[in-house]
Symmetry: D2
């Protein structure tokens, strides 16, 4: 089974040409799929063959003579791994050279490539100290702190104060040097009537914006006086959206049919990469000669962006091997839409889709927020026009305030505030003249496991909510949604009662 | 000069009715404009007049007999202040009661209101310890830490570790209890060719997402090898967008003309509230019988949301006093669009509009990122279709990653990632076959003064960049934009060369 | 099986209260589902019972004594029919009165309603002559022409000239009085390489905009010189999107699950209303306590909006009968999105999704359009930024021009230009330096049967294209798409070569 | 004053190389600005100079020996004109050749260009008969009708019936062959309380969609019973949006400042092209190294797209002559946004921004539409959520139906339904429990002069409304808006009362 040429070219990379002491070195990277290397047939540099006995392969630190690789003495060449090819002999002159290589693999047969590459000039750059093998030691952290002090002339006095072992940040950050200390204030307790979060919770809000904690607290009081906030997760989906380019729209359309027919196998390949990710469905969007496939997964208690990246890559590798009309393929296409606010997220969910709702008795609203349900509802109608005309992704007041504060406190990927900023607020005056108010957050990306959730203060905050670890992610989503609704009630009341500027005045601002 | 009734009703609030030991108390809040109270004419409860000699007024802790207030013995009643009215006599039964009050003011003459309010039941709620007067003392912080431990059964071990005096958080947070410790890794140095940032900077990135620092660092290397990144602030605007409701579209349209004619006075009122905020222009959006005015300001080195709120409120107070066709007024309308991604922000700027650009020599791109300019540019063309169809606010890769990491490190309002997530990437292959790549961030909300910028680690990070304080905000905007472009180059290269999943694999993820 | 009260209230309407010669009349309309009326139990006016022997029912022109209706002498009461209830006795005074009615039906059992209605004042209004029974006769047409002349003082001289029997307009228009004569110019022949349209077609374009026909003709010439235009229908879907309101989000979410489980039955009910409409899938969008179901159908050669309206209503009637948690229901919700440009249409198709594409040899483009592929492609890249920032639904040049001209000529519902205005243009310079250009029209709503397609000139134009009647709709979609691409090439070339204003000059404009 | 090279290349076009009987001919087109040709210095073909005495110039039918052109015998070479250069001698072989030309002009000095062009093969194509000089004669019309009959095998029987002189279509259509006959039904009279339209109007609706006229008539009845509809034009703007490309964002930003400083001169150049177009303001949008200038004009009673195209071209010509940092320039950029629905049009107006509004007394609504204000308003709230989530450009029901029907009847550019489909509906239940309902159409593009308005039936329909000619365009806009609101009331009532499908049923549909 041979891979079509155009795609194949992307599947292995040849490069990193450099002079070494006794000759030349370059590398070959496998981007396709696990393979076994059964023979190195030929290497040419600038058209001139290099004798096999001058070639050595390096993989995972092992060095193997090229002539020693054969079908009976094959070496594993897994996906994403790099083989370094070392050609003893003369060094090359500065500038461009052509490298060609031919080799045999199982199961992909004979393959050959050619590439122009330049001998890289080694430039001595100043850079932040980094140890490829062992970067999270106290010594390396200290070395970087010293470097920062020297480079900037400012000795660190606060950034270098943290309460945990730097080794615990491995996998969460490179060049770890210290911490940002973000103030946490607690709001609540808030009474949540969720399916997963049931009871009262005190809520850690990490923020530097005065009045935020107080404002959420006011809303929480109202919710509690109304019997608590009802929260429901109504959707759950994490995506990766590769794009496939064809010769024409007809091939593109037929490809989509083929995907439908092979969905079982595609799912199998995708799900083989993880015990957790489940492929729920694949949305397809056709335009011109392009097919955007939006793979939708559930990802357990992880946010799952990386998990679904791996799964989708595996599925696409299988697709690429079994389809010969694909002309280009990219794993991302801006249809995911990772780290972006988008209409598709509002419509079709990214992360958790969660709704918080409450009916606020008329008297509770008036006595606590100085506004009646009709006035608040009237303003909401006008604000809808404003959101519609301005092209906003949120017709509410400030849901990202609460979301961001909880994201920072609980170790979420805070950049996902991009997606999570969307919100749909809906209000009604009930027949009893009370206020029904709710918000749906259509793309709340949260985790209780993996990512930053295991770090020291982050895990601690999750544990205070009894939200750390497996089986807790819906609970956390419900609590966040409940807190968000509290903030909506608070600010919507303030705006519609005109209390808003003065509440800022009262608490003062730090300037 | 009398204010029309409908508006007036919003301008003073009557409420907070409660039984006290020797009678009843309620409050009157001035939401209109500074005034002087020259007489309390009458108070009725449930229609029954309360003799004047039983009434006492409380303002700012002073107690004054109602009968003592007269034109010659007037009391100041400033905007946003509350007068408590204390009526000695019987307590009221639980439930609703009608309070009516009539009084005289300068310059607004005789005013009277009536409201139904209920005697609030005092409910004993558990709540986070809070001291209205003195909340940021070590003792109160400790009290809250103890409360959290008791309430949740988890004793804090990390959140309670911080390196600064809690008093410094006053104005930045309520109920301060501890900190989130967010790991900081340094990237760079990055060479920035700005108008304000000129030179090389090491960049603090606060994140919990593995590969982020490494990815930005790769892009920085490419930028440096290309002579650095050129950064330019091309726009600067902070908004507040009140809405005015009229009887009909004709009055609404005529109001806009009136605003034009009175722009000088409106600007004067707005700018009187601050030595910094300058009103640049007022955009107007008419729909139905509504007028949305979008006040645009420059705000110096502050982000300025509160500053422009105060300025706009003052301007609107003057408008309300001088216009008699306004039927409703709200200071916010979802046209600002604060904490929201929106088309209007992309088009018309919110915060700083800043562009970073570079021309990457072909060889630099190929040798470092394993992709040629044509391939990266081709993918960008396809990703544009993806962004267009999915309704995304960003046709780039992941600008919010860098923005968020720098926002957390430098004390920005991180919830503004909502707006700041927008980005417009544009690429070209130049006639010389190099890659021109640029990103415009149309709504980057940053400050180097005020807000969270003065906190311990935050200020320290700003100082490392020489970006703390006055006259530095454009410099910071330029540095952030440069870093963002580095990240775009890095991820765009990875995607278009298919390197992307594997880079995640290589650095490993924390699960 | 009883229908829940809240819905029920919408399901029957009581009203049209009027005084008649010998008493009072009002009507009862069945909006629920076919029923049989088995007894009229009671009628009260202003609380006072009306003796049964004074009541007569009128249905379809038949008059039946109320006392004559019984289980053994039941009368059919189909959906959408009105029963007039005639109560002999006194007339009512002007103003509001309360009518109450109780009756029994199969299968819905005992039902009773109460409503306040006012005696309508009969106002004599001037109106365009109309005959409810026989409105499309030459006499009625003449009567209206006379009325127009008299009312406006302008005798018709052109509008009254048409070449067909007015009776043929029945079902297409009410108050038919004459015609708009829209000039038709022919372009082409255009060579189409479709799956359904194969060969060369001359194209009727109905327009009043000078240069339009000439511009399309220029593009057609280029396409023909490039071997013709390849057209492919890649999607087909017509929607109706009802909304269901629940008590809360949890009920809403559970309802969606229930819909999934009952999809077979729902499909059966929907498809029973038509031999043509096929329900392909139901998209669901949850927000707050609302569920928007977007029913997707294929509708043969009809545009199908009415067909899918009926089918969806039938399906929803069944849903309403079998679900007791629905609190409100509306057949439309702005999620269809009929007669609206929308992101959902761009993404998920409305009508036909059709792509036209061609590779224009470099020389053909340069010689005919005076622009090279690189320049046109470069401008397309810039125009993409323009479309992205301005929030346009079309990144191309002027696809609605050709679409509208063909819609008018061929009897389409021209108001659907709203949806059909969307377009996604994608260009590439091929490795051979030719121009690949394509457009996808994601929501092209066309018919070759039903609607206006059978009218005189409209049918004639369809027949010239061999596109009238059954089995032709994809062919027509392909031809339109091909023509649209011709226009894109023509105007894109003109803009990118700067020829654009001058082409308007040359052909002159009619002023 | 010399124009920069890059722009210059676009400013003249060399091409149309062809063999003629006695040699070769090619053409030179002036796309820059009016000039005078003072000398033809040199012509080379394939590098070989052509003796001057073999060269003849043709301009506007005049033939001038090349040697006869000199500073004292100069010839005018206006913008958009073509000079044919005729070189006597040998013919050229098929394939590519290089032509070079050098010449002198006032005021642009010496200019020279080189281009590769191919001898075009003359291909005999079948095409619709066309006479460049005299195309709108009865004979040419007949010739085309015959051609259509022969080409398709269908003799025209209806399309060829029209009531006017074909010469009147000159400037409105090319290849005029006949007409589409679109049925017109009259609705009304509708009572309009405009500033320009005052009184009652019967309304011509050209449509093929059954129930449309009846539905609008129902709404008109309700409006009339409510005292008529109040209509107000609140904005008026027609745009052209050129784009300028610079080397970098800094030059782009500085250019905008320069434009501000030179606004007076730019306005002068723009307004010199027309006695009607007035430049109101220039909006500027910066992204990357691009500047989009959106020129806003008023255009009297014309729709004005061509008028503003000419004016903007003139202004940009002046800009290009006086700015040396512009690297590319295109007159269109997708920021206009012509023939496109867009957020910018909704926000900032295109054509007329017009609002229609009415307060419908409760009884009128209930008695005529069988729905109460609360129910209709409730549905509007839900439909707002639908429009917001689906990304629709219109939160109303079906405004494009009425707009399209009136556009066809009155000779508007129907393709502008693309823009005109946008609408913002706002409803309220008043304190008196009546219904306030209004719609703002933010981009209604209408004319009462120019374009198709002077054609036979089109002008007649305008005259029936007393809307033909100068000073009438606001009147027409008001009437259209009033009709549109009637349709909104009608369909909104039907949907919210569930009457909607049945109204389609009752009038029947034509299949």
């Amino acid at each position: 089974m041979l891979i079509p040429g155009l795609v194949l070219k992307q599947m292995y990379t040849l490069g990193s040409l450099e002079n070494v002491e006794d000759g030349v070195r370059f590398s070959l990277k496998n981007r396709l799929s696990n393979a076994t290397l059964t023979r190195l047939s030929e290497v040419r540099i600038d058209g001139k063959p290099v004798p096999l006995d001058r070639l050595t392969l390096e993989l995972n630190g092992d060095r193997i003579a090229a002539s020693g690789v054969s079908p009976t003495s094959a070496i594993a060449f897994p996906l994403a791994k790099v083989v370094s090819v070392h050609a003893r002999g003369d060094q090359l002159e500065k500038g461009q050279h052509e490298i060609a290589i031919a080799f045999e693999t199982t199961p992909f047969g004979s393959l050959s490539f050619k590439v122009k590459d330049a001998i890289a000039e080694k430039v001595k750059r100043t850079s932040v100290p980094h140890d490829k093998e062992n970067d999270h030691t106290p010594e390396m952290v200290r070395a970087r702190q010293d470097f920062v002090a020297e480079y900037t002339g400012h000795k660190l006095q606060h950034v270098d104060k943290f309460s945990f072992d730097p080794a615990t940040t491995k996998g969460n950050i490179e060049n770890f040097t210290g911490v940002a200390q973000i103030p946490i204030g607690f709001a609540g307790p808030i009474k949540v009537n969720g399916e997963h979060a049931v009871g009262e919770f005190i809520v850690p809000l990490a923020t530097t914006e005065g009045t935020l904690v107080a404002s959420y607290n006011r809303g929480i009081k109202v919710l509690n006086l109304s019997g608590g906030v009802t929260c429901t997760v109504v959707g759950d989906s994490m995506q990766r959206a590769p794009v496939f380019v064809f010769d024409n729209a007809r091939d593109a359309r037929d490809f989509v049919k083929w995907v439908d027919e092979n969905l079982g196998k595609i799912r199998e390949e995708a799900e083989a990469t993880s015990s957790i990710a489940k492929l729920t469905y694949i949305d397809r969007y056709l335009s011109n000669k392009l097919v955007f496939l939006r793979f939708n997964y559930t990802t357990g208690d992880a946010a799952g962006q990386n998990m679904v990246g791996r799964a989708t890559f595996a599925a696409c590798s299988w697709i690429l091997e079994n389809q010969d009309k694909i002309r280009h393929f990219y794993l991302e296409s801006n249809f995911a839409t990772d780290k972006k606010s988008s209409q598709i997220n509002v419509m079709r969910t990214r992360g958790k889709r969660v709704t918080a709702e409450a009916t606020i008795p008329r008297d509770v609203l008036i006595q606590n927020m100085r506004v009646d349900p009709e006035t608040l509802n009237y303003h909401a109608g006008i604000a809808n026009v404003g959101a519609f005309m301005s092209g906003a992704n949120n017709n509410g007041c400030h849901s990202p305030n609460g979301i961001t504060a909880m994201f920072i406190a609980t170790g979420q990927d805070v950049a996902n505030v991009s997606e999570s900023s969307a919100g749909i607020v809906y209000t009604e005056v009930t027949p009893e003249k009370d206020l029904y108010i709710s918000i749906t957050i259509p793309s709340l990306i949260v985790a209780t496991y993996g990512g930053g959730t295991g770090l020291a203060t982050q895990r601690e905050c999750l544990e205070l909510l009894d939200c750390y670890g497996k089986g807790k992610v819906y609970k956390l989503a419900e609590i966040i949604a409940g807190v968000v609704l509290a903030g909506e009630i608070s600010l919507a009341s303030a705006i519609s009662s005109l209390d808003w500027v003065s509440s800022h005045e009262q608490y003062g601002r730090n300037r």
